[in-house]
């Protein structure tokens, strides 16, 4: 998925044929720290999805063993939500997209 937060490197070159100036490198002013902040993949409780179905989805999407998948499923069921994975944004987006494909209520949350 495309998104606008990626760092942009823009090379500005003047059209002077005889001399080649050193290119100006412009960068967005986002700090390295901001890019390093992980994103959580959160699954929320809903009364429709079956517990066995949710467990199967966690196993398939994250490759978790059944016990771990069941632990997360029960956390969703009892606490209303569970953080399934944390890490870089692109991968987190991919996980949320897959979870939506299975019709689970899932969101991305930026760690603050």
């Amino acid at each position: 998925m495309a998104h606008g937060d990626s760092a942009l490197l823009i090379l500005n070159q003047k059209a002077v044929p005889t001399t080649v100036e050193k290119p100006t490198i412009e960068q967005e002013t986002k700090s390295e720290e901001e890019f390093d902040l992980p994103w959580h993949v959160v699954v929320h409780n809903d009364p429709i999805n079956l517990m066995t179905y949710v467990t199967m989805v966690f196993q398939r999407v994250f490759g978790y063993p059944r016990e771990k998948a069941e632990r997360h499923m029960l956390e969703v069921h009892h606490k209303g939500r569970s953080i399934l994975w944390s890490g870089v944004r692109e991968r987190a987006e991919l996980y949320v997209q897959q979870l939506h494909g299975y019709l689970l209520l899932a969101t991305l949350e930026k760690v603050s």
Binding site: A2, Q97, G101, L103
Partner: protein
């Protein structure tokens, strides 16, 4: 109604006309059009609404892919349900054979249908957990029965996938 595994397929036999009709209604029940609550649930937001750019890009790039995925699952189920065509007037019980390769499509379409019906009638959690609710006396009661019946089929499919 009997439901069992037959080689590479799931077989629902002795299907009475009422349950056969509920199965035939799966594809139509997956359609959230005209039901904003259902549309919102099927295509839920990927993040807090404060993440405006993320949500708007999701609508542009991801939602169409999800629509295609859901549509494809529904089409697979529709083609399997063609086995039940021609039995509308018959009172004889019939059989439906679902190839195991189609199990994921069935799980998806049944889930779409359950979510849309639940959103349509705004069932509460306690209503959804009341699996012994009876009798079916209104369109809403029938909706609840449908949600539970489709859930029962999902449980069976999941069990067979697990045994596979």
């Amino acid at each position: 109604m009997d439901i069992c595994r037959e080689n590479d397929a799931l077989q629902i036999s002795d299907l009475d006309p009422f349950l056969a009709e509920l199965l035939r209604q799966i594809p139509a029940s997956t359609n959230p059009e005209g039901l904003p609550a259902a549309e919102q649930r099927i295509f839920s937001a990927p993040a807090d609404t404060k993440q405006k750019q993320l949500c708007s890009e999701w609508k542009t790039y991801v939602e169409p892919e999800l629509r295609r995925l859901f549509q494809s699952a529904t089409e697979t189920v529709t083609s399997d349900l063609a086995q039940l065509n021609g039995n509308e007037k018959s009172l004889r019980n019939c059989t439906l054979r679902i190839p195991l390769d189609h199990a994921d499509a069935w799980l998806n379409a049944l889930n779409q249908a359950r979510l849309v019906i639940a959103a349509k009638y705004a069932f509460t959690e306690s209503e959804l957990n009341d699996h012994y609710h009876s009798p079916v006396g209104s369109r809403r009661d029938l909706g609840l029965f449908q949600v539970n019946f489709y859930g029962f089929l999902q449980e069976f499919i999941l069990r067979e996938l697990d045994n596979n």
